[in-house]
Symmetry: C2
DNA sequence: ACTTAGCACTCAAATGTGTTAAGTGCTAAA
DNA sequence: TTTAGCACTTAACACATTTGAGTGCTAAGT
């Protein structure tokens, strides 16, 4: 257990290092801290904190910087989320605007607002419930040889994709295909759909002479619906605080972030409170100097989504966590409004 | 007019500088060039070239680097596009794969292939003809309160968007709206559509009590159809040869590229041959160290699209131009195939 | 048992000093 | 017109020196 004085010192080191990015020395703290103690005493305390692994030196005679464990301790035991003032909340509310036609738009907008507010990279995941079923299926003829395939899932998501018909397919054959699909796969969970559809392949082949293209199109649209929808905003902000000598490393980081699959992994978040993951706690070594603050939000009926901020390890956690928490409430409300408005 | 020897020297400087990025000196060239002349003679020739503004020094005693005018002269008068060997063409063909369901997919894939091949940033614009008309309009009911609005334009583009109906709209009212739109605006050019639609507003208001949302949705989907579709691939490659340590500048560059409107401007290309724009010839000062190689391609019936490579001023123009030219043919063929397959 | 002044020590960063290598321009002779 | 030769310039590098902020340790003071 840390003494009161050690807590003060640790907190001051973290605060100052967050603001200035420079190692913090004992004389500085002596001047600054509201405690009566000489720099030598502070040095002793610092040595103790270092032995506990909470702070570290960059070289043998440098000031101290918080270690990862230090941040962990700070986040878990010292820091209190900053209260977000009403003006800021108002601001968020305004940024959302109104008139969303899809939940995806709300989620995408969330990422944009968050990256604007924090100047970090923001990530948002669309709410997802455990069991999504295929709820509707349409094929809308567009031209002689084209149809638009539309899937509706039980969480209200609508995905569409063009499909070019093979030569010589007639309207009634198309009708038959629609009927087959409505009979056989509508109502199933999305994971079962593809398997079931393959079972029905002989049947479909009867109407569509060459069903490969159709299966591809259907598969790709189903993918869109199944895939965790991830929205990332403010990627370029990563450049601002990258120790960026090496362009290759940044390229790698970007491509990591662009692979939404990775991000899905990264964000695993079992609901509840705002969570902070630091450097080595993140799945990829590329992120060892970064830190991820994430929060799950409920959409009221279907499931949970996630919003997150990816920034430097020395970010102002108090502010960011406070913001994310307030934002989460705002977002939940927005989604609630959206569904409300729909019924 | 330059002498034979001056041409050789200029060409060698450009070639070597492209490969190594280092200023080129007279002694080097003496060793390397297949002409009988001492370094002093070459120095004299270099002085002449410098007086013509074709090459420049970084500092008073450094070797020479090509100036922008030098590149211009090289591209216009010296360089011949490299012949692309059959293997490479085969490679391109393979990268395309088959089975495109939309022209957009072909165009987007083009950007991807080009940035892969060159390791620069590639940009592609979808073909656009002068006069696009609205050719079809659908509203597909999805749930009780949602419809999917679908527009088809005369160039075969299909765009869709969800629209949440105001409360208390019934099927027959929706039918009426569809009929109004089909009667009044289908067949018009896209630019006229919005104006005409506003004329019909009283009529629409009769059926949709609050038509604002609908007008918004219709407008935004029309925007999608009208807006020049720009695809950019390999943005991170810009990092590889950015010689600037300033993240802010790169951020600015990225946001420039993300505003597709800007890119549309940038790319203006009156068809014909492959065109090269260097540094200051580009619209934005941020691009002064970059160079844009672009080519227009025909899609056989509707109009022209553009493919382009954005890279450092000292790129290997011969290769890039040769590649772009060959790629253009390949792309034209692909689009031809696409439409062929559709009839 | 803490605290603290004082001191020797460390290290990064800034500054200064040569040295080298690659280059230039100019001149005078071939 | 060409070229050898020479004086000059500059960036890049290696190296030493100084400075400033910081450290650990010790011995004396509370």
């Amino acid at each position: 257990m840390l003494t009161e004085r050690q807590l003060l010192i640790l907190e001051a080191i973290i605060r100052d290092y967050t603001n200035e990015g420079q190692p913090i020395g004992s004389k500085r703290l002596e001047r600054q801290l509201p405690i009566h103690a000489s720099s030598a005493t502070i040095r002793n305390e610092m040595a103790a904190l270092e032995k506990l692994g909470l702070i570290a030196k960059e070289h043998s005679s440098s000031g101290r910087i918080p270690s990862e464990r230090g941040y962990r301790y700070y986040v878990d035991h010292i820091m209190k989320p900053a209260k977000i003032d009403r003006g800021a909340v108002q601001n968020i509310r305004q940024s959302f605007g109104n008139e969303f036609q899809k939940v995806d738009e709300i989620v995408a907008t969330s990422a944009r607002i968050l990256s604007d507010l924090t100047q970090y990279t923001a990530i948002s995941l669309k709410p997802e419930s455990a069991d999504i079923r295929l709820e509707g299926f349409r094929m809308v003829p567009i031209g002689d040889r084209q149809v638009m395939v539309i899937l509706v899932t039980s969480d209200g998501t609508v995905e569409s994709q063009m499909y070019n018909l093979p030569a010589g397919i007639h309207g009634d054959e198309l009708e038959s295909v629609i009927r087959v699909i409505n009979d056989k796969v509508v109502g199933l969970s999305l994971n079962q759909v593809i398997a079931k559809l393959h079972e029905c392949l002989p049947l479909i082949t009867k109407y569509l002479h060459k069903p490969d293209g159709f299966m591809d199109a259907f598969g790709s649209i189903l993918d869109k619906a199944v895939k965790k929808q991830v929205y990332v905003s403010g990627k370029t902000n990563l450049l601002s605080f990258a120790h960026w000598e090496d362009p290759e490393q940044i390229k790698a980081l970007y491509s990591l972030i662009d692979q939404s699959a990775n991000l899905g992994m990264l964000l695993e978040n079992r609901g509840g409170d705002v969570s902070v993951k630091l450097g080595s706690e993140l799945s990829d070594a590329l992120l060892s100097h970064y830190s991820l603050v994430s929060a799950a939000y409920d959409d009221g009926n279907n499931g949970q989504g996630i919003i997150a901020i990816l920034g430097p390890t020395n970010m102002p956690y108090s502010k960011v966590i406070g913001l994310l928490d307030a934002f989460r409430d705002e977002l939940t409300q927005r989604i609630f409004d959206y569904y409300q408005h729909l019924n």
